[in-house]
Amino acid sequence: MNKNQKLANKKKPKRIVIREEYCMGCRLCEVHCLVRHSKTKNIIKAYKGEYPRPIPRIIVEEKGYVSFALQCRHCEDAPCLEACITGAMYRDKKTDAVLCNEKKCVGCWMCIMTCPFGVILRNVEGEKVASKCDLCMGEEIPVCVKYCPNEAIICEEKK
């Protein structure tokens, strides 16, 4: 284990907090989420040159002037984890994040049925798999947090 990994291990699990009062509805979180989960990780190529087009794992809801982004809450008592029949949905030991191993997922959608936030999406562009927020594993902070221009999505350490 190198030093960086050691440091990463020490990090306290984070959680993403959504603050609808500051969401402007620009949807840049969606844009950057899509790019982060594209093959090329290049914003222009992801939009203009990738087929199937990648999909964002964050949802922006809007009604009137209220809007907010929403992604997996990585629940402590996650119903999707219980419901997953393949073991594709798992809890990352290091970060406590709920992740989906898309290679294992068969698209039974039990997770969609049980997720009370409705933030697990069917990705049917390629293999049908459940698509969800992975907290941008490998990034310092998730890109939705990083690029939200108004700090409507913030990262805070889990209590």
Partner: protein, 513 residues
């Protein structure tokens, strides 16, 4: 000719801005479409492309900032009228607009005309050899400032064993840095903007000013760092309001619109604003040009003392005026009327809405105003009796320090604070469509200003300026701001006329002590 008066008669004029969209970069994510309050951008699902309508663009640059690929550039329209020093493009456009509408031209922010900026013709001193400069990173450097009436001398009580203080100071405002946020009302700016200012004032140990919009219930908790304004409209003025702040400021005038009142259009008078201002929902909030209970200096004195009575002499009561020709004697009159501080707002001071012609043609620059007012008060031996706060177009720490050296105790910043919060001076505050969420009450837009970010940016600005002021002070070998205040020996003029130099009370560059 009857009836021709104010009918609209439209004729297209060249747009002010051109929006350049780099189609190779545009990913049609529609962030610009969603964000523009002026509906400049639109998306065509058929071709999956975004296009822009230049005629609606006000040049606020929000879309440019938000565009994730940098595909948008806002440029000034290079289309030019035949070159004419007298009848320039602005003049032609204004006449055309008025020929169409028959109305007064409105604008926002401060005077943008090329009057001389005296700050840019004043330079500061620094220590060389004969005295050491001081490094503010290593040595204490003090910016603390007290605003309020000071006695001419200390009174001591010698009656007891030990000498005791007999002087009881009049109420003072303690500033950790000599910069305050000037009056911007809730109404002219959003509640989030007010919150940003208030929180920044709390963190930096300074003050923000309610303007004439009353005090929203969410803002009462910042009272210790609030200057409560009483203006001609008396919006939202009640006992609780007057007692909520640390000081009271009677607003007589504003640099951007000396001599005229204010007008908050009914569309901006939302539920919350109507409650705060205590006016009916959706009605225009009109501030009269004068206070109708102040037609003379005696009347002002009565109001000053009425306010002092209400607050039981626990809070300084000041008066804000715009800088006009007689600013010095007026300031003197105000001090003699009992004000604890006089705020002077110069020609370049901002506004949420003012007739363009007033904004650009009335009043004098703050540099001259503060210099003559300070001088006058000293001449009369009453400088101690009130503090001077100068405002109106202060853009940098250099402007701040020069203004203080000219004689101000502290400065008010308004426009600079707005810029820190995002404003790009498109001057369209009066439309209520501010894309930055500052000069608007539209809930779609106000949420764009996260007060945490706003406050942080304001704090950063004040920190940066304070640090720069300390550096400059240190350079002069001074470690307390009071030793610079009114210390015009530290200033020199460059390229100023003898009259300017005389009025500013400074020597020309090149002249030694």
């Amino acid at each position: 000719m009857e009836g021709l008066g104010s009918k609209m008669s439209k004729r297209p004029t060249p747009t002010e801005f051109i929006i350049e969209r780099d189609d190779e970069k545009c990913i049609a994510c529609q962030a610009c479409v969603r964000m523009c309050s002026n509906d400049v951008h639109s998306y065509d699902p058929e071709s999956d492309t975004v296009s822009s309508d230049n005629t609606k663009c006000v040049g606020c640059h929000f879309c440019e900032t938000i565009c994730p690929t940098g595909a948008i550039t806002i440029k000034r329209n290079p289309s030019e009228f035949k070159l004419n020093a007298n009848w320039n493009a602005e003049v032609i456009k204004n006449i055309t607009k008025q020929a169409e509408t028959g109305g007064v031209l409105l604008t926002g922010m401060g005077c943008d005309k090329p009057f001389p900026i005296y700050w840019d013709h004043i330079v500061l001193n620094a220590s060389q050899v004969t005295n050491p400069s001081i490094d503010p990173l290593r040595e204490p450097m003090e910016l603390r400032t007290y605003i309020g009436r000071k006695p001419d001398k200390l009174a001591l009580d010698y009656s007891g064993k030990e000498t005791k203080l007999k002087t009881t100071l009049d109420p003072q405002l303690k500033l950790e840095t000599p910069i305050l946020f000037s009056a911007m009302s809730y109404g002219s700016i959003s509640l989030n903007a007010c919150k940003s200012l208030a929180r920044a004032a709390v963190e930096m140990g300074t003050f923000y000013n309610t303007g004439e919009g009353g005090l929203h219930k969410d803002l009462y908790k910042y009272g210790a760092n609030t200057i409560i304004q009483v203006a001609s409209g008396r919006f939202g003025v009640h006992k609780e309001y007057l007692e909520a702040g640390a000081a009271i400021e009677i607003k007589i005038g504003q640099g951007a619109k000396p001599g005229i009142g204010g007008h908050l259009p009914g569309e901006k008078v939302s539920e919350e604003i109507s409650q705060t201002r205590m006016i009916p929902l959706g009605t225009d909030a009109l501030s009269p040009a004068p206070h109708h209970d102040i037609y003379s200096i005696e009347d002002l004195r009565q109001l000053i003392f009425a306010l002092k009575e209400v607050t039981r002499y626990r809070k300084p009561v000041g008066v804000k005026i715009s800088a006009v020709h007689n600013v010095a004697p007026i300031a003197s009159g105000i001090v003699r009327a009992g004000a604890d501080f006089v705020a002077i707002d110069g020609l370049r001071g901002g506004t949420g809405a003012a007739p363009t012609v007033i904004r650009d043609s009335v009043g004098i620059p703050i540099e001259l105003a503060i210099a003559v007012a300070d001088h006058r008060l000293r001449e009369e031996g009453i400088r101690n009796q009130a503090s001077l706060i100068a405002g109106g177009g202060i853009r940098s720490s250099s402007d701040v320090i020069k203004t203080i050296a000219l004689g101000a105790d502290a400065v008010y910043i308004g426009t600079a604070a707005l810029v820190a919060m995002g404003c790009n001076l498109c001057q369209k505050c009066y439309t209520g469509k501010c894309n930055w969420g500052i000069a608007t009450q539209d809930p779609y837009l106000t949420k764009r200003l996260n007060p945490e970010i706003g406050a942080r940016r304001l704090v950063n600005l004040l920190r940066a300026w304070s640090m720069e002021i300390k550096e400059m002070l240190g350079g002069m070998g001074i470690n307390a701001i009071e030793s610079l205040r009114g210390n015009r020996e530290q200033l020199r003029g460059v390229g100023l006329s003898d009259t300017d130099l005389k009025l500013l009370g400074i020597k020309p560059a090149g002249e030694a002590w």
